[in-house]
């Protein structure tokens, strides 16, 4: 019994912390337009492109380089070839559409291999430690988005 009680404390604390950060759109409350775009910011706080660049490259966060080439990160070795190159991507999509692709790629590209970074219902058998969690936080999505907007 004891370990459960201990485990509950941080969980309760996290719920309070989430509620406290007013203005964060919960994953299930994100509103999509019919083309998959999401026009409302997930946090109301402007994204930080410098942090977004880090999240983009981080293997345990965005890990975007696993699948996308991006010349702006040429200091990183090995860019994947599964998705399109992201050079100049901000010229091909507006901000709302890029946010939509990050939150849930499948709303834009049906059946895409690209993970949905801010969605709770992912594949079956998700590992316990990732259950009920999004791959990126709302602010990390906004940060990556701000970074993508610099790729012109």
């Amino acid at each position: 019994m004891k370990p459960y009680k201990l485990a509950l404390i941080p969980a309760a604390f996290m719920v309070m912390a989430t509620m406290a950060s007013a203005g964060v759109v919960a994953p299930n409350d994100v509103v999509f337009e019919s083309d998959g775009a999401v026009s409302q910011s997930l946090t109301g706080v402007p994204g930080d492109p410098a942090n977004g660049r880090k999240v983009f490259a981080h293997r345990k966060k965005g890990n975007c380089l696993a699948c996308h080439k991006n010349s702006d990160l040429s200091e990183q070795q090995f860019h994947g070839e599964i998705g399109p190159e992201l050079d100049g991507v901000a010229e091909r999509y507006d901000e709302a559409h890029l946010r939509g692709i990050l939150v849930n790629s499948k709303k834009t590209f049906e059946g895409s291999i690209m993970p949905s970074f801010y969605r709770l219902e992912n594949g079956a058998r998700t590992m316990k430690k990732f259950q009920g969690k999004t791959i990126l936080t709302a602010q990390e999505v906004e940060d990556v988005l701000a970074y993508l907007m610099t790729l012109k």
């Binding site: 070795q77 090995f78 860019h79 594949g123 590992m127």
Partner: protein, 287 residues
């Protein structure tokens, strides 16, 4: 064919700009392994797969590895996996269990096992289940030797699987998918195409839709199992089929099925059938 051409062309451009030497679609070299009993030709590419195959062409994982890694497999003297095969050969000749018998006492030379690897897993009427090579070895240990079964996926069992697989080296994989095996094959197929984990991917997303392309530094293969057990440079040991499945599931943040579970047996049969026609290649060398 069209899809492969295009991906190869795009891949080629990316690879060139990043300074990769490898061809996106994999090497065109052929594999002949220098073994103790002379050279063995390995079928690493099947141009016309059996009817009903979901793949336009079949490739062994060897085709997508670097030149250096490929070379390690081309000569048994250089293949680090052969050390484990030699250990298993010793075990083969060593009595164990209450009956005081060795494998050799009943089966003679390991070469008596020729052909077995190519047709496993298979449905066994007597056992009333789908049997992998691991299952047969453990069954024999318990039934005939009065010994304890080895841990599924563990070093001793995997090494013995390698020794027995080696006896079929070069022979085309030819597992049966119909008859009583059909149900398990269907289950394996379902698992193969089901998206799992927080990253929400199925085996097919990587190994059917995107083989030949790089995912970060990894050159994606078709995820064939004709080369298993595989010696991986990454962990410097022989890896069982189920251990590899487990690794891929963990990478997509999915809870893997248990090594030695019926789900992985079913998946093993299904994946093996996707490689019907490729040569048994064990023990292969991978990164």
């Amino acid at each position: 064919m069209k899809r492969i051409m295009t991906s190869a062309m795009i891949g080629g451009l990316v690879a060139a700009s990043l300074g990769f030497a490898a061809q996106a679609e994999g090497t065109k070299d052929s594999l002949v392994i220098n073994g103790e009993d002379g050279p063995v030709k390995i079928i690493t590419h099947v141009k016309n797969p059996p009817a009903g195959s979901p793949l336009p062409e079949l490739f062994s994982g060897w085709v997508f590895r670097s030149k250096e890694t490929r070379a390690l497999e081309a000569d048994d003297f250089d293949n680090p996996g052969m050390i484990f095969v030699e250990q298993a050969w010793e075990t083969w000749n060593t009595p164990d269990g209450k009956a005081g018998k060795s494998c050799a006492d009943c089966h003679g030379e390991p070469s008596s096992m020729k052909g077995l690897r190519a047709v496993l897993p298979r449905w066994d009427d007597k056992q009333g289940k789908l049997m992998t090579l691991e299952d047969y070895i453990n069954w024999s240990r318990v039934e005939h030797m009065g010994a304890k079964p080895w841990k599924y996926g563990g070093g001793q069992l995997t090494s013995m699987v390698a020794l027995i697989s080696l006896q079929s080296r070069g022979m085309p994989v030819n597992v049966k998918t119909d008859g009583p095996a059909k149900k398990m094959w269907e289950l394996g197929k379902k698992i193969y195409y089901t998206r799992v984990g927080q990253l929400d991917m199925a085996c097919s997303n990587c190994h059917e839709d995107n083989y030949g392309k790089y995912i970060r530094a990894d050159h994606l293969s078709q995820g064939q199992i004709n080369g298993f057990p595989a010696y991986r440079l990454k962990n410097a040991k022989l890896n069982s089929v189920h251990a590899r499945f487990k690794g891929c599931m963990k990478n997509i943040r999915a809870k893997p099925y248990k090594v030695g579970s019926d789900e992985f047996r079913a998946l093993e049969l299904y994946v093996a059938s996707r490689g019907n026609g490729l040569s048994v290649e064990a023990p292969s060398v991978r990164n």
